[in-house]
Amino acid sequence: MTATHVVDHIHDEPMSEVALRSVAIEALLAEKGLLTDDEVRRQVNLMDGRTPADGARVVARAWVDAGFKARLLADSRSALAEMGIEIPAETPHLTVVENTDDVHNMVVCTLCSCYPRMLLGRPPDWYKSLAYRARAVRDPRGVMAEFGAAPPADAEVRVLDSTADLRYLVLPRRPAGTEGMSEEELAALVSRDSMIGVTDALAP
């Protein structure tokens, strides 16, 4: 692949100097045979295809199937495999935590941006922001209030700090008034932000 091939895939302008350097680096790596355009494109498509809908499907299953929920909380990898979601061996460990009336979990990565990309896709900008990383551990309820959420006043709030080796997914509380809803209908209530723990799931 030549630099010209890379240029064909980039439709951003104007690009910052650093952004342009990323294109230059990819072109040089391709010229040296260290990666191919196909490999990069496959990876881009793979990540584009991962969305919070994947995580929402898992949460909805856990809401309707107590056995699945128990297995998911105990060993996410094998529980996800039951749903046909295969987590590659090199993917960091995923721990699923459950929000209840007594405990509210909220996830951050204070050092950078670690996130359960397998189930939620690329993280939102705010998750990576300096403000969220600083404030999530100091004032989680204040942060949640900005997102329009308020866990029960007497609930214990736990802030979980992700690492390169350990990621978290929050199982939000199942909203009231959802008895009898199908798994698919329930999944539509599971917002991305509720799986990070900054909000609750949507009301029906």
Partner: protein
């Protein structure tokens, strides 16, 4: 004072900017390049973190997320002898000349 990347608990009262941007092509690709190089054993997540965390504080705070990834990638590839800074400078100039 903790290092620039170690943000947990910093006295920061800035409201969270919840606006989100659609990722640009170059951002998607630099993300993918990192993953592909990881799969090939050319770089690890820990090396990547160390490289990002070694950026000077003013650069760390000024660069966007994927600009930091790019700076880290450049640092690692030069460190490993895979690319030189001169090669990257020259290729960047070539791309600029092509109108990017």
């Amino acid at each position: 004072m903790p290092a620039a990347h170690d943000r947990g608990g910093w006295p920061d009262d800035t409201p969270i900017d919840r606006s989100e941007h659609e990722y640009s092509d170059w951002e998607r690709r630099v993300d993918a390049v990192h993953q592909v190089l990881g799969q090939q054993g050319i770089r690890t997540t820990d090396e990547m973190r160390r490289a990002i965390e070694s950026l000077p504080p003013e650069r760390y705070e000024a660069l966007s997320y994927y600009e930091k990834w790019t700076a880290a990638l450049e640092l690692l590839l030069i460190e490993k002898g895979i690319l030189t800074g001169e090669e990257i400078d020259a290729k960047t100039a070539e791309l600029r000349a092509q109108g990017l």
